[in-house]
Structure formats: structure tokens, C-alpha cells
């Protein structure tokens, strides 16, 4: 039995954090599915089947015998805590609120949020950290709108959310802010129960309030915050950092409105902020003739899969915002794929071109190799992004 190889969660190349680490690329070209050791803050180190190929990832993630709920502590109302019929029941209540049409209807609100952040950025002046001034406040303000957080509460809400989700905060600070956030969510849910607001959480209470407990509604609110905050903050920040190093690609995003939708897909594929997806097999399964045993953990590297050129005849390691439509799994795949993906797309499509149009001379205020990337967090991001113009 060969020694199991340890795979750092930081499965990104040291010299270019946008690229998969060399050992992931190696796995991509092996026929045999490897067992690896995965360090996890929640589970300690565990052994898992490593999945790197696009086709393997796609077929496994769409297989309902591969569970997600068992890999994480249970949180009522959080879709990642459920599988099978229970998951479908909850998800069906929510999908109607996340359609393409709903996301499109939110565009004017999102444009207003982006415009206010651009004004704040201009006022702050060159040298500002773009994460704090632009990338983080946009999703937070959008979530405040969706949950119906009153204006007077927003500054506190933003602070609680940022500390609770900040990897650099101390454990005590995180727990304290998460507890405060839970109490605040309870109050929000109670208010929507009395009088459902004209927003997403209010709509869920209005349409499905009799099928959901208060704890579940609070869990839904927390899920929207967790899923919609760090991911979009990180995606905006890494996409901007990347484009500032590819001025030709940036110019397309800035100057060609018809190219923006495709460019956002390419940036999602290339950056893949949610690097890995942990799963567990509920039954023994077969992948290309190889057995995954019941109870085995599986880790899908979305990062590697999104670069897997097999069968495409394309160079998927090149950033090409004008690329012809290329399927990717940046939002996951199968029953658990991102519920809020159309909303995420709308935020990215609104924010990126607007930033580059308002600040056409935008540049990194630090050398490109000193950008402080978060390669060890579950979500790939940057800690700070000082910019000038």
C-alpha cells in the first residue's frame, strides 16, 4: 500500500496563485483516483478520494449518492446541511427567489450600490484598499437589501458580518460576532413574521412562512450572508487583481458591453474562488471502473477540473475573456450548485465594468508579486488590494 500523499488545502501554484498546484496537475493526468490526506479546521486531517477531472467531477457531483450534509455540522435552514428529499423540499421553496428574472430585477438596486461605492472610492483617494472600499461593501449592501436590514442597522451589520467571516479575526471575536449575528437574525425574522418586508427574506416568510420554523428562517438568512459575502468579495478582488495584470483583457471588460457576460464566466472559471468541494459517499459508487466505498470522503478540486482540457481541444490555462462559451463548475454542479449564482453574476457584471470605466487609469499600488492572496482559505481571495489611479 503506497504512502498516502498530503494535499495542502492551498492547492494553488506558489508562483501563480490563480493556477492549480503542480501536484494537482499531476493528478489530472493520472488514470487512477488517488487517496489523499486533507487538512480541515472542522474535521482535523481526513483521508479522501481526490477528484480532479472535469468529467469525473461533473458525474460525481450530479450523483445523489454523494452527500454534502455529513461533511459539515448541521445548521437548520442551510442547504448544505441537507441532502435528498429534505434538501429538495427546502431548495424548491427558495429557487423561485433566485431566478434569472429576479436577479435582473435587482440590477438597478445593485447599480446604485456600485455607484455609491465608486463615489466612496473616489473620495478615499489613491492608495485605498479596494477590498475594504469596494469589494466587500457591495455584497454586504446587496445582502442587507435582500434581508431587509434597516438603514440604521447597516453599519453594525456590516461590521458583525465582516468580523464573523474574517479569517484574520481571533476565534473569540468570530464566535462573539457570529452570536451577535444570530441574535440580530432572530430579530429580523420576528419582524418579517409580523409584517413580511418587500424583499427576499420577507418574500420567503410570506410564501413559505407556515412551512419553516424561525430557526430555519434564521439559518436561511445566515446562509445568504455566508454564501453571498466572502465569495463575491473574494471573486471581485481576485478578478480585479488579475485584470490589472492583463490590461488587454481589462480593456475588453471596460469597453465592450456585449463582452461582459462572457468575460465574467471566463473570470469565474479562471479564478474559481470556491477551490474545493468536500463530499461523502452514502453508498459505494464507481468512477471509470474504480470503486469509491460507502462512507469514503471525496474532495472535488473545482480548480483543477475547470482547467482540465480533456476533450475540449482548448488551452484552458490561458485567460481569454472573449473565449467561446466554455462550461465550468465555479458555482459547483448538481443538486447543491450555488443557489445565488444569477445574483452573483449580476453583481460581477455590474461592478467590474463600472469600476474600470470610472477609474480608467486604475493600477495596483503594490508590485504584482506582493499582492497578499488568501490561498489557504476555503475561498480564494486577497487580504488587501491597495490601488492607485
Amino acid at each position: 500500500m503506497p504512502e498516502l500523499k498530503a494535499l495542502p488545502i492551498a492547492a494553488r501554484a506558489a508562483e501563480c496563485p490563480f493556477d492549480p498546484a503542480p501536484e494537482l496537475r499531476e493528478m489530472l493526468h493520472e488514470d487512477e483516483l488517488r487517496r489523499i490526506k486533507v487538512p480541515s479546521p472542522l474535521l482535523g486531517e481526513f483521508e479522501a478520494v481526490a477528484v480532479t477531472r472535469y468529467d469525473d467531477a461533473r458525474s460525481l457531483l450530479s450523483d445523489d449518492r454523494l452527500l454534502t450534509g455529513q461533511s459539515l455540522p448541521t445548521q437548520p435552514g442551510n442547504l448544505l446541511s441537507y441532502d435528498g428529499a429534505e434538501h429538495s423540499r427546502l431548495r424548491r421553496m427558495l429557487t423561485g427567489f433566485f431566478t434569472t428574472k429576479r436577479a435582473r430585477a435587482l440590477r438597478p438596486m445593485i447599480d446604485d450600490v456600485v455607484a455609491s461605492r465608486l463615489d466612496a472610492l473616489a473620495a478615499a483617494g489613491p492608495g485605498t484598499d479596494l477590498v475594504q472600499a469596494f469589494c466587500a461593501p457591495i455584497p454586504t449592501q446587496v445582502i442587507c437589501e435582500l434581508l431587509g436590514v434597516p438603514y440604521a442597522d447597516r453599519e453594525d451589520f456590516r461590521h458583525r458580518a465582516e468580523v464573523a467571516l474574517d479569517v484574520n479575526a481571533t476565534r473569540e471575536e468570530q464566535i462573539q460576532k457570529a452570536t451577535d449575528m444570530q441574535a440580530y437574525m432572530a430579530g429580523l425574522v420576528a419582524r418579517h413574521r409580523d409584517e413580511p418586508g418587500d424583499n427576499l427574506l420577507g418574500g420567503i416568510v410570506r410564501d413559505h412562512g407556515d412551512e419553516l420554523t424561525d430557526i430555519e428562517l434564521m439559518g436561511i438568512g445566515n446562509m445568504l450572508l455566508i454564501a453571498g459575502h466572502e465569495t463575491i468579495t473574494s471573486m471581485l478582488a481576485v478578478a480585479i487583481a488579475l485584470l490589472l495584470q492583463h490590461p488587454d483583457q481589462l480593456a475588453i471588460v471596460r469597453d465592450e458591453p456585449s463582452a461582459v457576460d462572457g468575460a465574467v464566466e471566463e473570470l469565474l472559471r479562471y479564478c474559481t474562488p470556491a477551490t474545493i468541494l468536500p463530499r461523502q459517499a452514502a453508498a459505494s459508487m464507481c468512477v471509470r471502473g474504480q470503486q469509491i466505498e460507502e462512507g469514503e470522503r471525496v474532495v472535488v478540486s473545482i480548480l483543477a477540473a475547470n482547467r482540465d482540457p480533456r476533450g475540449t481541444g482548448r488551452d484552458l490555462d490561458r485567460l481569454d475573456v472573449r473565449r467561446p462559451p466554455q462550461p465550468h463548475m465555479a458555482f459547483g454542479h448538481g443538486p447543491h450548485q450555488c443557489l445565488g449564482q444569477q445574483l452573483a453574476r449580476t453583481e460581477l457584471r455590474a461592478a467590474l465594468p463600472a469600476l474600470f470605466a470610472r477609474f480608467p487609469t486604475l493600477r495596483l499600488a503594490v508590485p504584482a508579486d506582493e499582492v497578499d492572496y488568501k490561498t489557504t482559505a476555503l475561498v480564494f481571495g486577497v487580504r488587501t488590494l491597495p490601488v492607485a489611479w
Partner: protein, 79 residues
């Protein structure tokens, strides 16, 4: 071209409705696909919607006249 959708496969994420809104929409209550036009004029956007559908729930038949009631063929998940 002729288009078929499989409502049971549909993951309700609305890629199709974003890419080719003239042919695809989503149900208000649960986001499941609505096929607005089963025999649309030849369109790359419709092909793109089928290619990018994360549930492989859209089948495009090229150069085919509409034949109502044709059963949906089971297929693999990868286009």
C-alpha cells in the same frame, strides 16, 4: 431547430433564461424551465444554453421540424 427540455432534470438555476430569454423562461414559484418556443429560428444562443445547462436538461435537434409529443431521450450528463 427543435428544442426539448426535461423538467425533472432541470436544476432551476436559469442559465438558459439568461442566455436565450426568447426561448426559455423560468416558473415564478420554483424556477423550473419554461420552454417558450420549441421550434425557434436557428440560434447560437439556444445551442449555448444547451451546452451550458448545468443539468443537461436541454436537447437541441438541428434541422428538425417540430414533432409534438416526442419522448425525451435519456442521455448522459455530459454534453
Amino acid at each position: 431547430m427543435r428544442v426539448e427540455v426535461d423538467h425533472t432534470r432541470c436544476a432551476a438555476v436559469g442559465r438558459c433564461a439568461g442566455i436565450a430569454p426568447e426561448v426559455f423562461d423560468q416558473r415564478e414559484d420554483d424556477g423550473v424551465v419554461i420552454l417558450l418556443d420549441a421550434a425557434p429560428p436557428d440560434s447560437d444562443r439556444v445551442r449555448e444554453a444547451a451546452l451550458l445547462c448545468p443539468a443537461a436538461a436541454i436537447v437541441v435537434h438541428e434541422n428538425a421540424a417540430p414533432t409534438p409529443g416526442t419522448p425525451i431521450t435519456p442521455r448522459g450528463s455530459h454534453v
